[in-house]
């Protein structure tokens, strides 16, 4: 019932975009919002300031006019010509008879004087009062006899206190700015003077011009002056009088200055209303300054619009940028994600070129390196998997690792020299013989010939019963076959009968039920059977074809094929007896320096000496021999079960000759003691060293796999696989060098590859246990093809010798060729010493960049020019990509 609704999973780009967009909108919106709010506040403030400025200016103008009136009053009141008249008009009370008094005349004269001054000083009204406030003269009209202003509040105050006063003064319909001052004669009061500036339309216009604000003066009884058209003024006053209680209170003297917004004439105005009052209650007028809001707000409104437009543009730009940014940021991630998905699906053929930020680049590089690793591993695994078909199946170990088959079960027709060996004496059962003994003897023989086949580049084609068939290929097939048979004839403990033919056969696997068998079909095969039946023990019969093709060879060895009668039919066959064969083999060893085959004799020797050790034997009371894994230059390698540890180990026996050399054994022990310290996945571990019945042995980690040489013989490795193996070898080598252990014999034969593609370096200190301290010993040990020049000189070695050998091995691994070709030791040495090896690029034209430089640097004659050790070489290889 709880239907799980799959929540939409937004892509990283979308999320980043949405987040960035949200941020942009928020920030811009906030900025615009704050800007508009601030703008509104500023606009309001601007209106208020404008109004304040306007009222201040208005007051200033009024103050100036008041001061003007005051100054005029001062001037007139201190003008002796005028005061003397006024004094005169007050009468000369010398004799108390009123003689010389002419009031009318005096007043007219004073009024005339005032009129004159009015024209001169530009005031609007002058009033001259007597000492008690009685009006003596006015500048605007004649004065009645009993006219007095003693009741006027302002005049009364002045008369009472004898001080000058300036204020708004109302006279009928008119309002004046009135300056009033007492007049004296030598401080004796003689009257009062009032000088007034009328508040009229021109005054309001002047204020408006100066302040920019419209002006309205209105009195409580409805009189008004205005700079606005009469209609609007009436409308405003009607509005205020009818609906503005504050205004009503102000006109009644109960409220002070206030401001408000008023709409009229289709627009909004801010007005400042100020009372003009005589005292707390008596209001003469209200003064209004009006500022239209629109012109003040308009610039701000324009700013808001611009701000809004800019904000919108910023948001759009921000969105576009954030979209671009998010895509740009996530594009490599998305590519990486796609590549990773493909890789996780098994496709490692992805390439990721990272651009952008350093994290992305390093991530991309790491991913690319990972992919490269995976590619190499995959290639390696494919390759190993392909080749692992050649490995003996579990339980068939007795066949030995060198029991090889060409191209598996794939049928092939080819020309071969076929050598058949028949140990028919084993078939004779008598009292003294038993099954175990006969099988063991056949096994020993088989091991010998298998080991020889490995060395002489031959293949064990098939074996059945007491017979085995060896195949030889190529131009040297017949000489090799003769050499092979010579060695057998010389060294074999059990002498077989042999037959040698040459011909075309079809090779392949056949199956019957669960059993499989290798078959050779052809006339050559039939001929071989026939010849073998006819051959006596200790005799090799030759087919006529062989006889003719080997003629030259036989001549060279100064031997001649004899003619023998067949064992069964009595027919005549070409034949070579064993002594002749043995002589040929020993001659061949003397006359040819085939690097690969120089150990042949010792192999045969070791095989023959250790022939007593067969599967099932218990070695040194501890190791139960399971099978023979192979033979090498130093001895035979067995697979054995360590009964104490209950684990499989590889046992390597050493040649009895060397094992008897005590100084050599001491050196070997020291080397192994060091080598045991090397623990690394790419190093085959050495466990123990001991001897059993005079046979020295070394126990080692047992792995199931193939030597690199074995692989290289079969097919050229893909570069990626070769690179991977090289890196692993270097890793193992670096571990060894870290422990100050030098291998001294790096070569494909000493690299074993497990079925999972992991390479292990083996035979540390065993292959050529010559102490590095023995400089000038002059003894060369190692493999000439791979050894560094200094090693060939028999000098002491350090890690760079391994680097050199590694270089040769990599050269061969990548190109299939050897950098210092040649069959002569001196020739090889000189090429190495002078650095005249073939550049890798010549034999491998499409070598990836950098590979040649790395390989050729390893091959430098000068130690200082090579990589110092496995670590450095490994780092250089790490930078290469397949």
């Amino acid at each position: 019932m709880a239907a799980t609704e799959s929540s939409p999973r937004w892509s990283l780009a979308t999320q980043i975009f949405l987040l960035t967009a949200l941020l942009v909108v928020l920030v811009v919106g906030l900025a615009v919002g704050v800007g508009v709010m601030q703008g509104q506040r500023l606009a309001q403030q601007s209106v208020d300031e404008s109004l304040t400025r306007s009222t201040i200016t208005q007051v200033d103008i009024e103050r100036l006019r008041a001061r003007q009136a005051e100054l005029v009053a001062e001037i007139i009141a201190t003008d002796t010509n005028i005061t003397s008249y006024i004094r005169q008009a007050a009468g000369d009370e010398l004799f108390g008879d009123g003689a010389g008094q002419d009031t009318e005349l005096d007043r007219a004269s004073i009024a005339d004087l005032m009129a004159e001054r009015q024209a001169e000083y530009e005031f609007d009204l002058a009033v001259v009062l007597g000492v008690d406030g009685e009006v003596l003269a006015r500048s605007d009209r004649p004065v009645r006899d009993d006219e007095t202003l003693s009741e006027d509040p302002l005049v009364a105050e002045m008369v009472a206190e004898l001080i000058p006063i300036t204020d708004i003064w109302r006279d009928g319909q008119d309002l004046y700015q009135m300056a009033m001052t007492p007049m004296d004669e030598n401080f004796n009061l003689i009257g009062f003077l009032m000088i007034g500036m009328r508040i009229d339309a021109s005054f309001l216009d002047e204020v408006k011009r100066a302040t920019g604000a419209e002006q309205i003066w209105t009195t409580p009884d409805g009189q008004s002056l205005s700079t606005l058209p009469a209609v609007e003024t009436e409308q405003i006053l009607a509005d205020l009088n009818s609906s503005d209680t504050t205004f009503q209170a102000l006109m009644a003297g109960q409220s002070d200055t206030y401001r408000r917004v008023l709409d009229f004439g289709g627009s909004s105005w801010k007005i400042n209303v100020e009372p003009v009052a005589l005292d707390e209650t008596q209001v003469l007028a209200a003064v209004m300054s009006l500022v239209p809001l629109e012109p003040v707000l308009a610039p701000h409104r324009r700013q808001w619009m611009i701000l809004g437009a800019v904000g919108a543009a910023a948001i759009l730009l921000g969105l576009a940028l954030s979209l671009m940014f998010s895509r740009r940021v996530t594009r490599p991630l998305s590519q990486l994600s796609t590549a990773a998905a493909a890789a996780s699906a098994g496709d490692y053929k992805q390439h990721f070129d990272a651009t952008g930020s350093s994290e992305i680049v390093s991530l991309g590089e790491a991913f690319e390196s990972l992919l490269s690793e995976l590619r190499e591993k995959q290639d390696m695994e494919e390759y190993v998997s392909d080749l692992s078909r050649f490995l003996p199946d579990p339980g068939m170990d007795s066949g030995g690792s060198n029991r090889t088959q060409q191209a598996g079960g794939k049928p092939a027709r080819e020309e071969l020299a076929l050598l058949a060996l028949d140990y028919r004496h084993l078939a004779r059962h008598d009292e003294s013989s038993n099954a175990e003994d006969s099988i063991r003897r056949f096994q020993a023989s088989l091991s010998q010939i298998a080991a020889l086949a490995e060395v002489l580049d031959a293949s064990l084609e098939s074996f059945s019963g007491h017979r085995a068939i060896i195949g030889f290929r190529g131009a040297e097939a017949v000489p090799h076959a003769l050499e092979f048979s010579g060695h057998v004839a010389e060294h074999a403990s059990d002498k077989p009968s042999m037959a040698l033919v040459m011909g075309v056969v079809d090779r392949g696997m056949v199956r019957a039920g669960l059993s499989t068998a290798e078959v050779l079909i052809g006339r050559a095969s039939h001929q071989l059977d026939l010849l073998l039946e006819e051959a006596d023990t200790g005799m090799m019969l030759l087919s006529p074809g062989i006889k003719s093709s080997a003629e030259t060879l036989l001549e060279r060895f100064d031997v001649q094929a004899g003619v023998r009668k067949g064992r069964l039919s009595g027919r005549k066959y070409y034949a070579l007896d064993f002594p002749t064969l043995a002589q040929m083999a020993s001659d061949a060893s003397e006359r040819t320096i085939a690097v690969d085959v120089e150990q042949t004799e010792s192999v045969i020797e070791s095989v023959s000496r250790t022939r007593e050790i067969v599967p099932g034997d218990v070695f040194a009371d501890r190791y139960e021999v399971i099978s023979i894994l192979g033979q090498g230059g130093m001895g035979v390698v067995y697979k054995a079960l360590d009964r104490e540890l209950e684990d499989f180990v590889a046992l390597k026996t050493l040649l009895p000759d060397t094992a008897s050399d005590s100084q050599y054994l001491e050196q070997l022990k020291e080397e192994i003691r060091l080598a045991r310290k090397v623990t690394h996945p790419n190093v085959l571990r050495t466990f123990d060293f001991g001897s059993h019945h005079g046979l020295a042995y070394v126990s080692m980690e047992y792995v199931r796999g193939m030597t690199l040489r074995f692989l290289m013989k079969r097919a050229r490795l893909p570069f990626s696989a070769g690179l991977r193996i090289s890196r692993q070898v270097c890793a193992g080598l670096a571990a060894a060098h870290g422990e100050d252990v030098v291998h001294r014999d790096i070569k494909p034969e000493n690299v074993i590859l497990q079925a999972n593609g992991n390479a292990k370096l083996m035979d540390f200190g065993i292959a050529s246990p010559v102490n590095a301290g023995d400089e000038g010993l002059g003894v060369f040990a190692g493999t000439p093809r791979y050894a560094s020049p200094e090693q060939m000189e028999g000098k002491g070695l350090d890690a760079t010798a391994d680097v050199f050998a590694c270089g040769v091995m990599m050269y061969e691994l990548f190109s299939g060729e050897t950098p210092f070709p040649g069959t002569d030791l001196m020739e090889i040495y000189m090429a190495k010493r002078h650095g005249t090896g073939t550049p890798l690029g010549e034999v491998w034209t499409d070598a990836p960049a950098g590979v040649e430089a790395v390989v050729m640097r390893c091959l430098a004659p000068d130690l200082d020019q090579r990589y110092a050790n496995g670590d450095e070489l490994g780092a250089a290889l790490g930078d290469l990509r397949a």
């Binding site: 009024e62 103050r63 010389g100 300036t166 005292d279």
Partner: protein
């Protein structure tokens, strides 16, 4: 409060009656009742007697003097018989002008500098206010009398008029800030010396500038001016 603004000049009454047969003396003392802020001086008070039977005064043969000194007329009050000539020397180092708009004795001497000055003969009786049109505070009073019997008060406020023919007449006491005090007398009169009181009722105006330097009282409640 009264001690400052109300000064009373009191004089002990002196009895002084002339014994001559054809002429009588009037003597007495005048108390000045002054509520003004600028105290009046007794020397500014002129006492004169006008017999009903008018006695034409003989103008003095030499000019009387009212000089300008320190931008003041000195003496500030000068009583002269009609027909007398008054000279107005200027003792200040600046220009002065002497004029009068008196209807019966109007004159204007124009501006003149330091020196003997100019003279004017006051032929018509009456109060002549003499001004300087350059200096508003300068004012002098020339009382042109149609009687030879006049005198200023001495520093103690006493006066004495001598050699007045017997008969009725009026006694005047004048000060510029007072309505003239008049008494009808029958000479020779008996009794004590006269004890008179002159009230100086004309108001004086304080200096306009207040202590803040402001001369005009302005409404401050609205803060307009």
């Amino acid at each position: 409060m009264g001690y400052l603004w109300h000064k009373f000049l009191t004089f002990t009454a002196l009895s002084c009656v002339a014994a001559t047969t054809w002429a009588a003396d009037i003597s007495g003392r005048v108390s000045l009742v002054d509520s003004g802020k600028r105290p009046a001086q007794p020397s500014e008070v002129v006492v004169y007697f006008r017999p009903d039977q008018a006695v034409t005064p003989q103008p003095p043969t030499e000019a009387l003097v009212m000089r300008t000194r320190n931008k003041r007329f000195e003496p500030s009050v000068l009583a002269v018989p009609a027909g007398a000539t008054v000279r107005f020397p200027n003792t200040d180092p600046i220009l002065h002008n002497v004029f009068s708009v008196s209807k019966s004795n109007a004159f204007d001497m124009g501006l003149y500098g330091k020196g003997e000055g100019k003279s004017w003969t006051f032929t018509n009786p009456g109060l002549v206010r003499v001004y300087c049109n350059v200096h508003q505070s300068m004012v002098g009073h020339v009382l042109v009398l149609d009687t030879p019997f006049f005198s200023r008060l001495d520093a103690s406020g006493q006066f004495q008029l001598q050699d007045i023919p017997d008969g009725p007449g009026r006694l005047y006491v004048w000060h510029e800030r007072a309505r003239p005090l008049t008494r009808s007398l029958e000479l020779p009169r008996e009794g004590q010396a006269m004890e008179l009181e002159l009230v100086l009722n004309q108001r004086t105006v304080p200096k306009h500038k207040n202590k803040f330097g402001k001369s005009y009282k302005r409404r401050s409640r609205r803060g307009r001016y």
